[in-house]
């Protein structure tokens, strides 16, 4: 078997490379900044014979997700990728993908939503799809993008899960930034993901099935309850796949759901997602050994109980949200608080529309927790009054 190879690549390339390694059969995607290079890299792979896949040059993201639904239901591995407005355009169909229990994998290069139009990073796009019953995994590095997309197929196709997976990574900060990434040999990835064997859902004249029927008040709730149960199963499966991946490839990301950094004796806990976590770790290392980080890798399913346990008995806890629920509290804070109602948790909003979150901004967020502010109203970091 050939060896792993370390290459310096950007996050978009890491995503495309993962798709090549998994050897996906049908790809339908539409370009949007900052995801565009994923589509271009994949096109290049196919054009050069490095990936044997069907590429559907769809005329919109709505059709991209619709086409991969059709392909997935026909029994092949599929992939799509998008961001921002593209993800918003898919909104209607995302619920159908999960409702039909199709193991679709999609990369999302997180970007702000219009208006004003803005191509830079925040998490508003994926947060707006929070309740679409897609598993949402957030990455911190380009290596993690590649590894997570490979894992995503195992998670999505697991018989106890059968849900679509969004692999989210911060636009530009990861999508366009070069990092060394270890690329495992294709055979090894193939062995890890195994053959795709569709079970419940397959369009085949040999055994006709009716997919996507009308479900009235007598059965709709049962279907939805099953989806929720599958999400709960996903919590276990994500952990298992993370461990198995560690055994095979020597890398893991916390327990697959959350990653703890310096939490054991920390007085203060920062809870965040995505690439900002690297900055938080830097601040902890350089200036604040009394602070710990919980990096939420799996936002859906949300490992609320685990997080609630970690944040007990601290001097202060603060969330950094890169999205907001206008007129209410931001999403990450709300989810944590729901599982730890007795813990005082401060809320900050930072880095919307690509505003940098610098080490001094992380320090400001920690200060919010120290002062016990932001518990009933989010504190906006680094915003002009």
């Amino acid at each position: 078997m050939s060896e792993s190879e370390v290459r310096v690549i950007n996050g978009n390339y890491a995503a495309a490379e993962a798709v090549r390694l998994v050897d996906v059969d049908v790809i339908a995607a539409y370009p949007i900044t900052p995801q565009t290079p994923v589509v271009e890299y994949l096109s290049e792979f196919i054009a050069n014979g490095e990936l044997d896949a069907e590429f559907i040059h769809v005329e919109s993201e709505h059709s991209a997700i619709s086409a991969v639904i059709g392909a997935s239901a026909t029994g092949v591995r599929v992939f799509t990728a998008t961001a921002s407005q593209g993800l918003a355009l898919m909104h209607e169909v995302l619920f159908i993908a999960s409702g039909m229990r199709l193991p679709i994998v999609m990369a999302v290069a997180n970007r702000a939503l219009s208006a004003p139009i803005n191509i830079w990073c925040d998490h508003s796009d994926a947060m707006a799809q929070r309740d679409a019953c897609w598993i949402q995994l957030y990455c911190e590095s380009n290596q993690e993008i590649l590894d997570t997309i490979i894992q995503a197929y195992r998670i999505a196709e697991h018989e106890d899960v059968l849900l679509p997976v969004m692999v989210c990574f911060d636009g530009f900060t990861l999508s366009h930034t070069l990092e060394p990434v270890e690329i495992p040999p294709k055979e090894k990835v193939q062995e890890f993901v195994g053959e795709f064997e569709p079970t419940h859902c397959r369009l085949d004249p040999e055994e006709p099935m009716t997919l996507g029927p009308v479900g009235g008040p007598d059965c709709y709730m049962e279907f939805k309850k099953m989806q929720d149960e599958a999400m709960k199963e996903a919590e276990r499966v994500i952990g298992e796949v993370n461990r198995e991946f560690a055994d095979e490839f020597g890398r893991s990301y916390g327990n697959g759901l959350v990653e703890e950094y310096n939490t054991e004796d920390a007085d203060y806990i920062v809870i965040a997602m995505g690439s900002v976590c690297g900055t938080v770790k830097h601040v902890i290392d350089e200036e604040r050994p009394d602070v710990g980080l919980i990096r939420v890798k799996s936002y859906r399913p949300f490992p609320g109980e685990q997080i609630a346990e970690i944040i007990q008995d601290r001097e202060g806890v603060v969330t950094i949200d890169r999205a907001h629920s206008y007129g209410a509290m931001p999403p990450l804070w709300t989810d944590v608080k729901a599982h730890a109602p007795d813990v005082e948790i401060s809320s900050t909003i930072a880095g919307l529309g690509g505003r940098d979150i610098r080490p001094e901004d992380v320090l400001k967020a920690i200060e919010v927790a120290e002062k016990g502010k932001g518990t009933d109203e989010p504190v906006w970091i680094n915003v002009n009054a």
Partner: protein, 299 residues
């Protein structure tokens, strides 16, 4: 038989089971039933949201004896694109992919997906079952509603006289997209319909068949009259049967003598409000359209 041409036998196998919930006399259900006979068992069907989807698949029942998928209202063509490419990836080249989409799901909200699908050249038989309005939601106008037809969103009153725009000519737009096989049909002419769907199935690439499907509750006539109403649509020239193969136009049925449009209009509630002048105007429009088609056919 007296000098008449022997008719194409209609395949006996039923691939749309009885017991579905479509109205008595539903032209659209008849369309699906006939088209499936032409398409055969080895077919995967994609359907858009609308009457056909809703009436054939009340979970846990289904009327479909072929594999069938419904995803949403506006994306049947995109879903079909994915199915077709997946079959290609699997090396299954003997399976037909067919779409049944309503006029709303085709000429309005699904038009972008349709345009994309045919432009990309997917090997799909796209069948628009045209009942000339959004019937599933209770008879609202679509881009395919004919001029002067009253619907719940184009009611006939003092100011509005029903639908006030011409019917969107999607078959022609499909021809302009370079679709290798485009045809119009009507459920009242089953042999013609089956022949066209069989041709569409043989085409390597996209094929588009636009089928007029009378709708008893939506158009306002007795459910026993569907076939007759469809015949009148064709005999009056309100609906024209033709096909365009690789750009070549051919009328597939020419009424011996076109009947006055009044005979068609008078039979339906949706046209009950028309004045004599308005009927005359429709007659003029039909005459003009027919002249144009004659010229096309002569070319």
């Amino acid at each position: 038989m007296g000098g008449r041409k022997p008719r194409l036998p209609i395949p006996e196998e039923e691939l749309l089971a009885p017991g579905h919930r479509a109205c008595a006399g539903c032209g659209s259900a008849l369309c699906v039933r006939l088209c499936l006979k032409a398409l055969g068992k080895n077919t995967i069907v994609v359907t858009s949201t609308g009457c056909i989807e809703v009436t054939t698949t009340p979970y846990p029942e289904t009327a479909w004896k072929v594999p069938w998928i419904h995803v949403a209202f506006e994306n049947a063509a995109a879903v079909a694109s994915g199915v077709e490419r997946a079959l290609k990836a699997l090396g299954k080249d003997d399976v037909t992919v067919a779409v049944f989409a309503g006029d709303g799901g085709t000429v309005d909200i699904g038009f972008q997906a349709l345009s994309g699908m045919v432009e990309r050249g997917h090997n799909v038989v796209y069948i628009c079952y045209d009942n000339e309005a959004y019937m599933n939601t209770g008879v609202q106008r679509s881009g395919a509603t004919p001029p002067y037809a009253a619907t719940t969103t184009t009611p006939a009153g003092k100011v509005w006289r029903g639908e006030m725009r011409p019917k969107k000519d999607v078959p022609r737009i499909m021809v302009d997209h370079g679709v290798p096989y485009v045809a119009t049909a009507c459920v009242s002419f089953p042999q013609d319909l089956i022949k066209k769907v069989k041709k569409a199935k043989k085409v390597d690439g996209p094929a588009y068949v636009h089928v007029l499907c009378p709708c008893p509750p939506g158009w306002g006539y007795d459910s026993s009259e569907t076939i007759e109403i469809g015949e009148l649509a064709v005999e009056t020239g309100m609906w024209v049967l033709y096909e365009v193969e690789d750009g070549e136009f051919r009328l597939t049925y020419r009424p011996k003598e076109r009947k006055p449009v009044e005979e068609y209009l008078k039979r339906q509630k949706r046209f009950q409000h028309l004045t004599e002048d308005e009927i005359e105007e429709i007659q003029r429009m039909v005459d003009e359209q027919w002249e144009e088609l004659e010229k096309l056919a002569e070319k």
